[in-house]
């Protein structure tokens, strides 16, 4: 069915106009090659291609006996790193993941890699902004209930004991908002206090922005990645930028009897701790309207620096197809079946890099001590070289020794007394309550981990290799009272 005249009208157009119009209209964009049209563009090049998922990026896990209340233990999961402080003219917002995403803190008392106890946080957003865009607060916010706070998040915290239905501990507890600026949120501490939720049966929880607490040393990072003192090009600059940025934190304090296997920290003192984020998935072969979301684990963290310590890698330099690629999606109870992963724990990369750089001879393998460090805890009989039992689940009276499996967990002995004067280098320097017996916010793990990778305590110390930490560039030390982490950095 031929159409009416338009094409003939085109044929009669004045030529001079034609060329002028064409050049005026044809920017580089027009010459980029074709673009798919509307309702045809969605699966295409203009669809987002950035896979990075900051909300699933756990930076640090801390687990320690609460120094201000030794009957309690505290677990902290930090995520979404390098949040720049906002200012009143340039507001920022770093919300927790919503849409059914599950932040989970897992507790393993049996030592088999399965979580005996899971604390699950799910967030929802209440967004009162026009069209869901723009700054999250108008004017000063002095309370979470202020009408000027337009973007609010609430979480439900569930406790799931293995094989049982989830119990809701709190529903719709408020999360503290992202700090906007000194001007708009002059007393963030008050907001954080308001966002502190008391849990039934004792304990407290907070979801809040905090100042990055990680005591990092960019020069020490160099040894993990390059084999010599840093800074590492493209990684952290020499001056520690972490001293000025914020993270999001999930802070959970619960009675030790709740964490320990069979509720008895005396009989079962050791727990393994790790955190995951899982997002709802979908099976395209079935109707999405009639299927429950199959959750996919997209982020995971137990021991600090596992990528550095085992492979000397970070996001940009991991070997494609290697065990790093599988780590984040794998449940801890499957670690024992990934042979590449187990092998890399027995043969960590950094000592070889350091030896190649002419710095320090690599200890002889297989490195059962490093496998124990990451995947078993410090025990007399599991390959660790400390010569005593400290934080392996084999110490738990109610554990089946045959069921204990290699799994990446941050292991904490709940009965280790709180140290009066903590040593930030932890167990290596005689402070049994420090890393790697759990981890306190002020522990300086870079140096301890490198020394253990270089063979301590089973061989000569590499402590002399390391520059003394530049404390003047460190984040402000965490405090000894709940919630321990410092208030987020703020600008005018």
């Amino acid at each position: 069915m031929p159409r009416s005249a338009p094409s003939t009208r085109v044929a009669r157009r004045p030529r001079t106009l034609a060329l002028a119009a064409a050049t005026a209209l044809l920017t580089t964009a027009a010459l980029a090659g074709p673009y798919l049209g509307t309702s045809q563009a969605g699966g295409h090049f203009d669809a987002p291609g950035q896979i990075a998922d900051p909300q699933a990026n756990f930076t640090d896990i801390y687990a320690f006996t609460s120094p201000d209340n030794p009957d309690m233990a505290t677990v902290i999961a930090d995520l979404q790193p390098t949040q720049l402080p906002g200012t009143t003219p340039a507001p920022v917002n770093y919300p927790f993941a919503t849409g059914g995403a599950r932040y989970e803190i897992h507790i393993d008392g049996h030592g088999d890699g399965h979580s005996d106890l899971t604390y699950r946080w799910t967030f929802r957003t209440e967004d009162r902004r026009l069209f869901g865009a723009g700054p999250i607060a108008i004017g000063q916010v002095r309370s979470l209930r202020d009408s000027g706070l337009l973007f609010r998040q609430y979480y439900t915290l569930e406790r799931i004991r293995a094989g049982q239905a989830p119990e809701v501990l709190v529903k719709d507890a408020p999360a503290a908002p992202t700090q906007q600026s000194i001007g708009q949120m002059p007393d963030y501490g008050a907001l954080r206090a308001e966002a502190t939720t008391v849990l039934p049966g004792g304990g407290r929880s907070i979801a809040t922005q905090t100042a990055e607490s990680f005591q990092a040393d960019a020069r020490v990072f160099g040894y993990f990645i390059l084999g010599s003192a840093g800074p590492v090009p493209g990684y952290l600059p020499a001056a520690n930028p972490l001293a000025a940025v914020n993270v999001s934190s999930l802070i959970l304090q619960v009675p030790k009897r709740e964490l320990a296997l069979n509720g008895d920290p005396g009989r079962n003192p050791v727990v393994g701790v790790w955190a995951t984020l899982s997002r709802p998935g979908a099976n395209l072969a079935r109707d999405l309207r009639a299927q429950d979301a199959g959750y996919r684990q997209v982020g995971r963290l137990g021991n600090p620096h596992i990528m550095f310590g085992l492979w000397g890698s970070f996001g940009g330099i991991a070997a494609p197809g290697g065990p790093e690629d599988r780590f984040h999606a794998r449940p801890a109870d499957q670690d024992q079946y990934d042979q590449d992963f187990l092998n890399s724990a027995l043969d960590p990369a950094p000592p070889h890099k350091i030896e190649a750089a002419g710095q320090f001879p690599a200890p002889a393998g297989p490195r059962t001590d490093i496998r124990a460090l990451y995947l078993g805890g410090i025990g007399k009989n599991n390959g660790a070289k400390f010569g005593f039992d400290l934080n392996t689940q084999s110490m738990n009276a109610d554990t089946d020794p045959n069921a204990v499996a290699w799994a990446d967990e941050l292991r904490l002995n709940l009965t280790t007394p709180v140290t009066a004067n903590p040593n930030r280098f932890g167990v290596l320097d005689g402070d049994l309550q420090g890393y790697p017996n759990g981890r306190r916010p002020n522990d300086m793990i870079d140096n301890s981990l490198l020394r253990m990778l270089e063979g301590e305590p089973g061989g000569p110390s590499a402590a002399g290799l390391l520059p003394p930490p530049l404390f003047d560039l460190q984040p402000k030390p965490a405090t000894d009272t709940f919630p321990y982490l410092n208030l987020p950095h703020a600008l005018p």
């Binding site: 338009p6 094409s7 085109v10 157009r13 106009l17 119009a21 064409a22 050049t23 005026a24 209209l25 044809l26 920017t27 580089t28 964009a29 027009a30 010459l31 980029a32 090659g33 074709p34 798919l36 509307t38 309702s39 969605g42 699966g43 090049f45 987002p48 291609g49 950035q50 896979i51 900051p54 909300q55 990026n57 930076t59 640090d60 790193p81 390098t82 906002g86 340039a90 507001p91 917002n93 849409g99 059914g100 069209f131 869901g132 865009a133 493209g234 990684y235 940025v245 709802p280 998935g281 979908a282 395209l284 109707d287 999405l288 990528m307 970070f314 940009g316 070997a319 690629d325 999606a329």
Partner: protein, 467 residues
């Protein structure tokens, strides 16, 4: 602690100055010269090309528009720095680092995606090649980068190859499946596209995975499920640009099903997030035209094509103007120039551009070019455009075969139904009425130009439009 490369943010604030410096250092010559050489490579050298290039030199790359978003007076949060400037600075600091070059290529690609500025694609190409020279083996990032670039240039077979190599190299990383999913769905291998999309979704159930899942579902006529997927994408969006993308796609879905108010709301939300989201601007113009505000619509379109003269936007403006008996000659001229450039370059053929050619110029040219594209890929979009071009050239029997192929995935769009119904009517097929009615039932405003034709044809067939 684990941090993925805070460098991009540590560089926040590297602004126009760094941009200009990097521009000067990034390539073998000044940007304009590079662009011209690239243009000559791509387009061959015809008189028209040189004329266009003259225009390019004067215009330079498109600047983001101050969009017609409703958030006037609202401060939209400034992004914490310019990722492209940061990536350029990183390359300046570490010219021997393959990872820095790969990141620069990705930043260029992302900028091209947002600005539709082709010069960025040429820069991305250079950056990925540099990365591969510095690290030829196991360079996953540069490999998937070249695949994304090939998809962007509609070189889908090359993209498929890159995606296959990347997923073989690293079966547990998501980005390779993203490249593969984009390539396969455009090549028309729908089972392979679904498989790659599913794997992508399993590894990364976030914006990239869910937006592609939505497209896969939509292509298979599962619009309601596509909407669910897009809402999940929106739930996991972590940047204004990603949120805007999800919103404008939700708008497109609503539009295709005649829910104009809902579509307009999604487009406005997209523009509140990202004022220069071109697809949302076009969508809003479309809604304005359909709701009795054609002057405003034309104004939006004119603003839009000044920055992003893509075939789709030019054609939508053209057909709006023609439907109101207004002058569309500038757009028609630009479209004609694009066809000539395409013909001279022998490059990938855009089905939308060919719909212009079939309806408003010489349809035999569209048939010739689309046959070449059909030999390259068997996408339902190509089948639909080729079918329509064949009909416009009077080859209705072959046309209908192609339009039936276009319907093979069950994708119910007003345009597909209108094309099929029209050809069926020409061949006196009884199902013509049902198909023409389906086009109007899906969206009674699907096109200011095609809707009157659909209604007239239904009248000629003795059927009331609404049935």
């Amino acid at each position: 602690m684990t941090v993925d490369l805070p460098e991009a943010e540590a560089e926040a604030g590297a602004g126009a100055e760094a941009e200009a410096e990097a521009e000067a250092e990034a390539g073998p010559g000044p940007a304009q010269g590079r662009r011209l050489r690239w243009l000559a490579r791509v387009a061959g050298a015809g008189a028209l090309v040189l004329a266009c290039a003259g225009g390019l030199l004067a215009l330079g790359p498109a600047a983001p528009t101050a969009g017609p978003g409703p958030g006037a007076g609202q401060a939209v949060p400034a992004p914490p720095g310019d990722p492209l400037a940061a990536a350029r600075a990183a390359v300046r600091d570490r010219p021997q680092d393959p990872y820095a070059w790969e990141q620069l290529g990705l930043a260029d690609l992302d900028r091209a995606r947002l600005t539709l500025d082709a010069a960025r694609l040429a820069d991305a190409d250079q950056a990925f090649q540099r990365s591969l020279v510095l690290k030829p083996q196991g360079n996953y990032g540069a490999l998937v980068g070249t695949g994304m670039l090939a998809n962007a240039r509609h070189e889908f077979a090359a993209a498929r190859t890159a995606g296959e190599r990347a997923t073989a190299l690293a079966p547990d990383r998501p980005t390779g499946y993203l490249v593969l999913a984009d390539a396969e769905i455009q090549l028309g291998d729908y089972p392979a596209a679904t498989a790659a999309t599913q794997r992508l979704l399993d590894l990364a159930p976030t914006v990239p995975g869910y937006t592609r899942a939505a497209y896969d579902l939509e292509t298979h006529g599962r619009a309601e499920e596509a909407e669910i997927a897009l809402r999940r994408a929106l739930d996991s969006a972590e940047s204004a640009g990603d949120s805007a993308f999800c919103e404008h796609r939700l708008g497109d879905l609503a539009w295709d099903h005649g829910r104009l108010e809902e579509a307009g709301d999604h487009y406005r939300r997209a523009l509140a997030q990202a004022p220069d989201d071109y697809y949302a601007q076009a969508g809003l113009a479309r809604v304005l035209a359909a709701t009795g505000r054609p002057d405003q619509a034309a104004e939006h379109y004119r603003e839009l094509v000044a920055h992003a003269p893509t075939p789709q936007f030019l054609l939508e403006l053209t057909e709006l103007q023609l439907s109101r008996n207004q002058d569309a000659s500038p757009q028609l001229t630009a479209l004609a120039a694009e066809v000539r450039l395409l013909d001279a370059s022998g490059g990938p053929v855009d089905p939308v551009l060919m719909l212009y050619q079939a309806d408003h110029a010489d349809p035999s040219v569209a048939v010739r070019l689309l046959r070449e594209e059909w030999a390259r890929r068997k996408s339902v979009l190509v089948a639909d455009a080729l079918g329509w071009a064949l009909h416009r050239s009077g080859q209705d029997v072959e046309a209908l075969d192609l339009l039936h192929l276009a319907a093979a995935t069950n994708w119910h769009t007003p345009l597909f139904a209108y094309h099929r119904g029209t050809v069926e009517a020409a061949l006196h097929r009884p199902e013509a009425v049902a198909d023409l009615r389906e086009a109007l039932a899906l969206n009674p405003h699907f096109s200011p130009f095609d809707v009157p034709l659909t209604e007239r044809l239904l009248g000629e067939l003795g059927a009331a439009p609404q049935g």
